[in-house]
Amino acid sequence: MSKNKILDPNRRQDLEIIASLIKKGDRVLDLGCGDGLFLRDLQQNHGASILGVEIDQDSIVRCVGNGVPVIQGDLNDDLDYLPDKSFDLAVLSHTLQETRRPDLLLKDIVRIGKFAAVSVINFGHWRCRLQVSCSGRMPRSSQMPFQWYDTPNIHFCTLQDFRELCHALGIKIVAEYPIAAKFPKLTGYFPNLFATSCVFVLEEEK
């Protein structure tokens, strides 16, 4: 997949990128899988074998309704019930910023999956920078519609912050797929400034 491909803005682009990574027969784990529709798509259209982890009871009931195997679990807890390298790909999409200890979760996710696909919202996007520097207020956008005091997103980072954390944790970044609705070329050169989010493919350093 080209790094600069412009994707359908009506679909969650990170999910489209992650789906494109799946090979037939891959075992895929989605941490924070919601109603399980993304996993169901991976199963039906990409031939993956799937499992979701979700905390919300209503979402779990919907997963079962969608025929998606799901385990109730809190991503802030230890995930040691998921064995080492028991999945080909462990997915964490737009969720890292909601967790209490993103560092611990990242270590866990590369332990569980042979590879991990983590999509990260970029706080270093030029709009965010502009909002802070010009209006003097915390940034808000369609991806981050909350006020600072009621947001579930408690751990924001820039793409550069994320890379540095991976480096510090001994996690190898196998690939980066920056996502932007505008300026594809610039995004390719300066993702930390122009990408609204990014899918990182990660692997435990051997």
């Binding site: 779990i60 079962v64 025929g67 799901v70 064995p83």
Partner: protein
């Protein structure tokens, strides 16, 4: 009640108890052999042509084969899981063939301590052999064979019924597509065993029990009622008791004052008394010994040196495991233990802890959330059955 839309009248959904005599004596885990075993069972719905729509429901300690519907249109009460199972219900008998049998050792039609010992011509009473959950399941397996079913769509049950479900998955891995163990555990906890002990002590302390040799006129009613009251408390939660009774008094005098005696004064006391009394009318004290003992001995890990993952290595069924947040008799951590062991083996498993204030009893009361999951899970497993 099923509504007949064409005639617009209430048509009760009727079920009929049936009996199946095992063709040969049943070898038991304790080493003894049980002769001339009868299995009381009921079915609802119709077995389809390729016999792929059979759902076996396993009952809890005080349950029986009468899982849904009514025996006669005049019956006041339907079967014990009628809210869940029946035409158009969550487990839809228009779609599935539901089977439920009374466990051996029970007192509702299947061979148990009240049955006549063919060797002596007298009731077994306490000479009945000690049975286990695996024995119960071995007897049920013969019933399923007898009904001509090679592979069940699912085995489904809560509490002691859930233990049978787990035992089924381990003993006969090729005989079902899916299992749904609800509010249960892979082994009885020391706390569970302790409650059973006290319950049996209460029965023993009743002079009428007489080592199990009592007649219809001299049943150990007080002992059995006390055992039931104790057990009943374990089925509720602190929250559900507070909500249901609070500290309200039984005889609401004008001034709402205490009686200052030891008769029942509080509403919760009179409720328990009533539960105990009702139980004595339908349950046999000796049976209570045998069934509670079977649950005490239940431990799926016994044959694998305490290693649950190893015990579950050969299971093939897809699992839907459900626990309830306020259930302290079979707390969520015990369900999670099963989930973890299945994940270790790379088995298909779904798990949900349903938020409920009803305690252990929630498995019979949370019909909406539990029912929706069971309905949808069965639906998807029926598709998978043919793949």
């Amino acid at each position: 009640m099923k509504i007949d839309t064409q005639n617009n009248i209430d048509v009760p959904f009727l079920t009929t108890p049936q009996d199946f005599k095992l063709p040969a004596p049943l070898q038991l885990e304790c080493g003894r052999v049980l002769k001339e075993v009868n299995i009381r069972f009921e079915t609802a719905g119709t077995l389809n042509a390729d016999r792929s729509n059979a759902v076996l429901v396993t009952h809890a300690l005080s349950g029986d084969a009468h899982v849904c519907g009514r025996h006669t249109p005049q019956d006041k009460k339907p079967g014990w899981w009628d809210e869940m199972i029946g035409p158009g219900k969550m487990v839809d008998t228009n779609k599935y063939f539901v089977i439920c049998s009374n466990v051996i050792g029970g007192c509702s039609g299947s061979t148990g301590p009240q049955s006549i010992d063919p060797d002596t011509g007298k009731p077994y009473n306490m000479t009945f052999p000690v049975i286990t959950v695996a024995d119960m399941v071995r007897a049920q397996k013969q019933l399923v064979d007898h009904l001509g079913i090679k592979k069940l769509l699912a085995v489904l049950g809560g509490s002691m019924g859930g233990m049978q479900v787990l035992q089924w998955a381990v003993s006969y891995p090729d005989m079902m597509q899916a299992v749904i163990p609800i509010a249960t555990a892979c082994q009885f906890s020391p706390q569970n065993i302790a409650f059973d002990w006290v319950a049996r002590e209460a029965i023993k302390a009743d002079p009428n029990w007489n080592g199990g040799e009592y007649t219809e006129e001299t049943v150990p009613a007080r002992g059995l009622a006390a055992a039931r009251m104790l057990a009943h408390i374990t089925y509720l939660s602190e929250e559900s008791m507070s909500r249901k009774f609070g500290r309200s008094l039984q005889n609401k005098a004008e001034d709402n004052s205490y009686e200052y005696d030891f008769d029942f004064d509080f509403a919760v006391e009179s409720y328990l008394q009533h539960q105990g009394k009702r139980f004595v009318e339908r349950f046999d004290a000796n049976s209570y010994f045998y069934i509670t003992r079977a649950t005490d001995y239940f431990d799926l890990t016994a044959s694998s040196g305490g290693d649950l993952a190893k015990a579950l290595e050969k299971v093939k069924a897809a699992f839907l495991i459900v626990s309830f947040s306020s259930d302290w008799l079979f707390p969520t951590c015990q369900s999670k233990r099963i989930v973890d062991a299945l994940l270790k083996n790379n088995k298909e498993v779904s798990f949900c802890e349903i938020t409920s204030a009803y305690g252990h009893d929630a498995f019979l009361l949370e019909v909406n959330t539990l029912g929706r999951m069971v309905r949808d899970f069965l639906n998807h497993q029926q598709e998978a059955y043919h793949e």
